[in-house]
Amino acid sequence: MIITSSIIPIFAIVRKDIGVWLRQPTAIAATVLPAIAFMIILYFGAQAVGRNPVALVVQDNGPHAHELVKILSQSDAFKIVMTSSTPERADKALKQLKVAAVITIPNNFDEDYNAKKSDPITIHINNLNLDFTNDLRRSLPAAITEFYADKTGSNGNTSPIQIHVKETDIRTQDIDLMRFELVPNLVLLLTTAGMVNAGLATAREWEDYTIKELLLAPISRTILIVGKLLSGWLTTLLIAAVVLLIGAASGYLRPENPIYWISTLVIILLIALASACLGVAIGAAARRFQIVTAIGIPLSIDLFFLSGGITVAAFLPGWLQTIAHFVPTFYGTHALQMAIFYNSTEGLAVDISVLGGTALVAGVLGVLSLRRSMLV
């Protein structure tokens, strides 16, 4: 009897909050916009990786020069947008920013190569910034490497390079950049959804003055708090369910071994719970829509970045990796990537412990913040 009388008001609060949320396109937009924005970034980032336009000046018609031109033309490090035998056009293109560099194969290239004399290829780089410049600095030696690798078999000669790389991969498969970054984006979506939606649902009670009705209703404050936390959690999970269904159907977010669905779902439940509880805490403390979105969205983006959202955490400087280890979403992202891409439980116990602890702390914060706001 007591249980039923508790469940009915909790259910009513949950139903009311979800119903209101579904009628709020701005709240839904606030939830999905940051994640969509980062997906667009990833798409453009993946398109633009290291393909700078380059002009090629070929002053030698020998077979080795031709071979090098072929390698340069097929390079995935840059795209040759102009080929000429004289430097004037290429230099003009460099000045007009139509190309990022000019590569010149000199007229004595074959002669020097055959005579085993020093045979430099000039690369004139518009060194605006170190990132682009280093891409170009790497790309010509990479082509020269390929040029020498081609020596074996193509003309019967043996390559002078006797060192061969023996690669061992520690993961079962390579994951492309777009797919790899889907996981931190899912975590971003969960944290934004939890913080913003639960925060807005809580703040709304004060903005619309409905908190008075809730407080005057013949229900305990515990029921009220449980109802608000549960509605925030379920709203977040609703969004997670939609994304997971699409991800599973498309294969982008589907663990290859079904057993890893368990860890995937546990991690998602914990991230959603922690975010929703934090959202309730912010909403109850702020009591204003505007402040909830002003805090919730940037905070979610901060967590996204610090958990290696837009890059791979292992490539960050050491001090930043240390900071990342204090960010709960770092563990969520790690656990999901291990489960979905690599069929691995590597570090799962630590990941679940950290996320469970975070959910607990966030829950306590949510309860305290709501209780305090109800008293004021």
């Binding site: 937009a29 023996k166 061992t168």
Partner: protein, 374 residues
């Protein structure tokens, strides 16, 4: 005519003062509208720190001169952050996720090279994602070829000879921080002006504004002026962070001051337009962030946009951030990053600013025609 001009000035002044006073009563939002653009700046700086170089452990089982030369070739390949260590420590670092590759130079390395024998160079890769992994796959053979070019110049004679356009390299952080300043000005302007405009609809005061015997252009110019003053605090903080904390000193201060004002007017006017159209402060923040981030990425934040995908570059040239980044790169580093050049870019931006002010006034004027619902 004189009376009319004076009355416009009075309307502009009154609107600006009213908006500043109203905003100052919402201190929490004022503070967050300053913090959000700064936060944005710092976050993307963290992203820039990645720099595309792979943290790699090198285990030298042979300490001979050729092994040392290979290590040096790797260090100068612009591809690795090298940590020379033992095999067990390298494994430990790999398990902790602090490195992404282990290159082991075998004990017989120097002897095998001297005798012209083939050598296998073991490379263990934490192949987390294909983009970063391929960088390593390309970089190791590249370092090997560079090593040969130095160690055996008679065998590997083809080498790259580099000529640079600028006498010194500009670091990635020094470059990107300028682009970040532009997007932060955009974000600050949209947030502040958008919220000020939407507040009129949320609080119902728009009715009074529309029914007032005042020109919509004067009202919007007043709102823009108010938002300019309010968002200037975040811009000042940003300039202090970039110039004095990060140490990126502008080569042309006079250009910087002028361009900051020009961009602020453009984006404050855009924010006023957004606020007038969507009429909800709750939506202004996600929309501002959601717009700023992708536009920033396609507008040549990391290098000239015209070097990227042609379709993306064409889209980028239709909006002001593209020109804003170009003129700021000129003010800070004397760089030209668009084919039009900084002079033309400045005129295009003035056009964008005038258009934004005019369109937002038209949007307010059309509210009068449609009536106000909120």
């Amino acid at each position: 005519m004189k009376t009319s001009f004076a009355s416009h000035i009075r309307v502009i002044w009154a609107m600006a003062v009213k908006d500043i006073q109203s905003s100052l009563t919402e201190r929490a939002f004022m503070l967050t509208s300053i913090i959000i653009p700064i936060n944005f700046l710092l976050l993307f700086l963290l992203f820039a720190l990645t720099g595309g170089q792979a943290p790699t452990a090198v285990v030298l089982e042979d300490k001979g001169p050729y092994a040392q030369q290979l290590l040096s070739a790797m260090e100068h390949s612009h591809s690795f952050i090298i940590q020379q260590t033992t095999a067990s420590n390298a494994q430990n670092l790999m398990q902790k996720g602090q490195i992404v590759a282990i290159v082991t130079v075998p004990a017989s390395f120097d002897a095998a090279l001297e005798h012209g024998k083939e050598i296998e160079l073991p490379v263990v890769v934490n192949n987390l994602d294909v983009d970063f992994t391929n960088d390593i796959r390309r970089a190791v053979p590249l370092a090997i070829t560079s090593f040969y070019a130095n160690a055996f110049p008679n065998q590997v004679v083809v080498r790259a000879h580099e000529v640079d356009t600028y006498f010194q390299d500009t670091g990635y952080i020094q470059y990107i921080v300028v682009s970040l300043m532009v997007v932060s000005i955009m974000l600050g302007g949209l947030l502040q002006a958008g919220s000020n405009a939407a507040r009129e609809y949320e609080k119902g005061t728009i009715k009074e504004l529309i029914l007032a015997p005042a020109n919509p252009l004067a009202i919007q110019v007043g709102k823009i002026l108010g938002a300019l003053v309010l968002s200037s605090s975040s811009v000042v903080v940003m300039i202090i962070v970039i110039v004095f904390l990060i140490g990126v000193w502008p080569l042309h201060w006079e250009e910087l001051v002028g361009f900051v004002l020009l961009l602020m007017v453009t984006f404050v006017a855009a924010g006023t337009l957004i606020g007038t159209l969507i009429r909800r402060r709750q939506a202004v923040i996600p929309l501002s962030i959601g717009l700023s981030i992708p536009i920033f990425f396609i507008s040549g934040a990391f290098g000239p946009a015209i070097w990227g995908d042609p379709v993306t570059a064409a889209i980028a040239q239709l909006q002001p951030i593209y020109y804003g980044i170009a003129i700021f790169q000129h003010a800070f580093h004397n760089f030209t990053t668009t084919s039009t050049g900084p002079g033309v870019d400045e005129f295009i931006l003035i056009g964008f600013a005038a258009a934004m002010v005019a369109i937002s006034a038209i949007a307010l004027g059309s509210s009068r025609g449609r009536g106000v619902t909120h």
